[in-house]
Symmetry: C2
Subunit: 361 residues, 2 copies
DNA sequence: TTGTACGCGTTATCAG
DNA sequence: CTGATAACGCGTACAA
């Protein structure tokens, strides 16, 4: 009982292939009665158009691609992709598009991937994530002629639309929150300087501090890994004048930093306030619960998909509103204390019970 | 400058389409000299076979599908998929297969997804993950006639091969490790009882305890979420006779449990030993560092892909060795102490410095 | 080696 | 206007 073809349906309905195709696409040229009959027969036979025949016929792949270029370690823990993909699906599946996924380990392989997807005609367009400051992919894709949408905080470029709320407001909110709590030495543990969302967060941090008239605070560059987050924290705590607050570029590093601080007997938030980024599921359940910045990855996915399909179809872009990231304040941030962070490790000033307070927002 | 077709190459090389096809597939029937010339021309023109034409021609999709059916929350934090997918790719891309991904929110939608992928002829086979104890998908796929490979600890079934090291040995190792440390009340915070890898872990825990002649220990069923992990821990600590060790079915819950214990002033591992599962990146950087069970998701991916392609091609299965999960012992597990876990919360018996010891393995 | 039918929808052309 | 016919897209495979 193989899948019926459009020919089977046509024969059963006593019409031609063309008539069936027209009927199913609500195209004029078929009498209402005939149309009904065709649709009924098609339904009864359980006919569904073959994506591959269609693809060949319309000269489209009816699929879009997502190439994730990451070191496996950073990918493992990234909370963004699953939600983002779920968001993509909400739009793609309705439109009959499939999502083709590739995971590669370095940017070089990513370029090969794009080339190959284009050469083989596997996809009609692709999403570009984790844009580098000096990223060659947009130009490459333009040269190949493969429509693309850049996802995330992106640098304006002559080639492709950028979809994704700027993450700067989230960092700005975090810095302002800390300033309101009395902090003046607010360090930033940021992502690699070659990644756009690494530098954009850093800039937001930096300019907000300056706007508040505060002196420069320490910055440590990392690769987004837990390891590097811990190392950065160690470095900061060892300063002669350690910061009283640290904003991390992701929750993973914030967690590592929090743990490191605790292991040194530094009270959080008594001696050190900590802010993460991503608002991962675990954030609210840490001890103390982690203040973090939340992004709506699902909405990003939906928006990116809409935009890419428009690009593919040549439809004019519809304006898409994306909510800016929101600061979720929890217990890991608090008023600046008089005691310095490098105080005697063994001592604790607040009972653990006291510290376990509830999420504020 | 559109993509050249096989006809363009044939014309340029002064041969027929068929000759080009033969030359490129290293099939006999083409003189060596001609073959060389054809290959040269094809290379110069930058010709690559069109996947869609090929797919229609060979009546195959040249793609396989992965449908992930999860509540978004549990998916978000799952460290398994990115690595697993990376593993798949290592095999698929070499064989010219693409991976088609779908993320759906409930099992019902998953079934629809499979149906649709099959109906539209989008894929030649699929991977089934997160098998339920009473899962309808294997039978459904058998009925549809869509080749499948079940990934993860799976119940033997009449339909499809199961790929993935049994996760029981990891749990067994964890229980034995705790027993060796003197624990006798070793609780388990397990996954949902309708998921195979939920019950398989539970059974391993249970039978290992019995084999050691220990009395039954408390068990709490969860949905793998941080929230439920924290709740389960609360429940366990509130017991009249709380456990001295807890094995969680994933790191996420273990982290939540660890945090909850800390917030109550329960010393880990002094009063309570904690074991996770997954060995996520953050595990080694927690305070205390988390003992956990590591699985090689990349190897699983590669193995699953190999097996699925064999199934599709009708090739006999090659035996695949998968390393069993390994217990990674860190600081969150220690010798059982005399003090009970429900001791006065505000007190701490060991200085924090003392607790910050190194990963053992 | 070449010529050509085939896979399966889509769409332009044309006769009724 | 209705609907049949045929060409098309692009590689594969088999008969000639």
């Amino acid at each position: 009982m193989a899948r019926p073809t459009i020919n089977d349906v046509a024969r059963a309905a006593g019409v031609s292939k063309g008539a069936v195709s027209f009927a199913l696409h609500d195209r004029p040229g078929v009498a209402p009665a005939t149309r009904e009959r065709i649709l009924k027969v098609a339904r009864e036979m359980g006919w569904t158009p073959s994506a591959r025949a269609r693809a060949l016929s319309v000269s489209k792949a009816l699929a879009v691609g997502l190439v994730m270029a990451r070191r496996p370690e950073t990918l493992r823990a990234d909370p963004f992709f699953p939600s983002f993909i779920a968001g993509l699906e909400t739009v793609l599946s309705d439109r009959g598009y499939a999502l083709l996924l590739q995971v590669v380990t370095d940017p070089d392989k990513a370029r090969q991937s794009y080339r190959r997807l284009a050469d083989e005609g596997r996809v009609d367009g692709v999403f570009v994530t984790d844009l580098l400051v000096d990223d060659e992919r947009p130009a490459l894709l333009a040269e190949i002629g493969l429509p693309a949408v850049i996802v995330g905080p992106g640098i304006e470029n002559p080639y492709w639309p950028v979809v994704g709320a700027d993450d700067a407001p989230g960092i700005v909110a975090a810095v302002e929150h800390l300033i309101a709590l009395g902090h003046t030495r607010i360090a930033h543990v940021g992502g690699p300087s070659d990644v756009v969302h690494g530098v954009s967060r850093k800039q937001a941090w930096c300019s907000t501090l300056r706007a508040a008239g505060l002196p420069d605070s320490p910055f440590v560059e990392t690769d987004f890994s837990a390891e590097s987050g811990a190392a950065a924290t160690r470095q900061l705590l060892d300063l002669v004048e350690p910061p009283t607050a640290v904003i991390y570029a992701n929750d993973l590093m914030a967690m590592a930093g929090l743990s490191l601080a605790v292991s040194r007997g530094v009270d959080v938030p008594g001696q050190l306030s900590i802010v993460g980024f991503d608002d991962t599921e675990i954030a609210a359940h840490l001890q103390p619960a982690l203040t973090s910045v939340r992004q709506d990855a699902i909405a990003w996915g939906a928006a990116a998909a809409i935009r890419l399909l428009e690009l593919i179809d040549g439809t004019p872009p519809t304006p898409i509103e994306l909510a800016p990231p929101a600061l979720v304040v929890r217990a890991s941030t608090g008023p600046v204390s008089t005691g310095a962070a490098h105080a005697a490790p063994a001592q604790r000033r607040r009972s653990t019970r006291e510290r376990g307070r509830m999420e504020k927002q």
